[in-house]
């Protein structure tokens, strides 16, 4: 199982001298396992994926959208495989049914916001409404569930026979919780992230910033790390970096918030990084 980060930034693409290490593209992560390609979210990072050699040879694509905020779909219209009639592209996202999913995405993928309509895509494009407790994409088991974030927002848990990973890019895990973490039963996202080999989780804010942005739908470094600990993950990647945070600030926050004693790995998600699992 190979994971690659194509976009790790939250909210808005942010390119400047201070985002060169961890990247400026918005959410997009690919997963390849035994010939199956899954793409988590279609932020601006999906353009970098499209332009890479990485997807050459694939004819079927599975794009798992967590929600419809713009930083998670803004790259969708630039996904090259849409324009090849030999391709099949499956788009999954939070909706009551596939018609609703098409309707929501069409708000962006149509004039005047975008010149190309969904019906103009050449590939065979299929839409799938989620959440579902369990779904099979080839040999991979996928489960999805709603999370605490403004608007319907999903997280994903995927596993093959050996490895389990979880993708939760936008999540205010401690909203309204006076003392976090609570019991696992009352913690948003716990079932998805429990006992995973790898967890990608929202860590947009410092503790101080979080206090000023309660209810905005994101977690602090500290909350993400505590959530990782509660879920007994083996490897945590802090994700959805705040556009105002420089590379140096991200590293300072990581150093400041990483507990001296811990039994799991904590990393900053870095655009371009490839992680081999299994």
């Amino acid at each position: 199982m190979t994971l690659q980060f194509w976009g790790t930034r939250g909210s808005i693409p942010t390119f400047n001298d201070e985002t060169q290490i961890y990247g400026g593209n918005t959410s997009c992560v690919s997963l390849v396992d035994q010939g199956t390609l899954i793409i988590f979210d279609a932020g601006s990072g999906i353009k970098r994926l499209t332009d890479s050699e990485y997807i050459k040879g694939f004819k079927e694509f599975h794009i798992l959208l967590t929600h419809m905020h713009f930083d998670h779909i803004q790259g969708l219209g630039f996904f090259g495989p849409f324009f090849n009639p030999e391709n099949k592209v499956n788009i999954y996202g939070p909706a009551i049914n596939s018609e609703e999913l098409i309707k929501t995405l069409s708000k962006y993928l149509s004039p005047p916001l975008f010149p190309v309509r969904i019906r103009d895509f050449k590939a065979d494009v299929q839409f799938h409404a989620l959440p579902k407790r369990s779904l099979k994409i080839d040999h991979l088991s996928v489960s999805s569930a709603y999370l605490c974030h403004p608007g319907p927002t999903l997280g994903y848990r995927i596993n093959n026979e050996q490895t389990t990973l979880c993708y939760i890019p936008d999540h205010e895990v401690a909203l309204g919780v006076p003392s976090f973490p609570k019991s696992t039963t009352w913690t948003s996202g716990f079932d998805l992230a429990a006992d995973t080999d790898l967890l990608i989780h929202d860590a947009q804010y410092s503790n101080q910033e979080y206090q000023a942005k309660i209810g905005w739908g994101h977690s602090s470094f500290n909350q993400a790390i505590r959530f990782g600990e509660l879920c007994r993950t083996k490897k945590l990647f802090l994700f959805h970096h705040d556009p105002a945070h420089s590379d140096q600030q991200l590293e300072e926050l990581l150093a400041e918030q990483t507990p001296a004693s811990r039994n799991f790995e904590i990393n900053l998600a870095k655009e371009g990084d490839r992680i081999e699992l299994n």
Binding site: P94, P131, Y146, P152, G176, P178, T185, W186, T187, D191
Partner: protein, 130 residues
Amino acid sequence: MAQDIELILSRQLAEYLSTPIALVDHDGKMIYFNESAGHVLGKHFDENGEIDIRDWEGRVFENENMLDGVNIHEISFIKVLTGRHILQGEYWMRNFEEINQKVMIICIPLIGMSQREIGAMIYFNLIHRS
């Protein structure tokens, strides 16, 4: 297993309210009640945790004589859960401290996203104690 997000958010709201509120799951189990609801019920959630439907349904009565327990499957909470309509009524309740009291109960079904039947939110308003 973690609760549905709609219940998690409802509990978080209820924790901040002085309005007496309890949450029941789809099977009628009282999975959370706030401090004010605990006062009416005669139990504290932090000390006692969840209350199974069998433990609390026999404490609600239609009449002051409290002889005939309300058939809970007929009148109310389960009906709210499955019928998707709001219940409002005045009942008599013998709480867990064995205090008899008249309460107004408003029970609102919680229908989650994608039309999932998740449970109900119950508001208890204490009218008077006998």
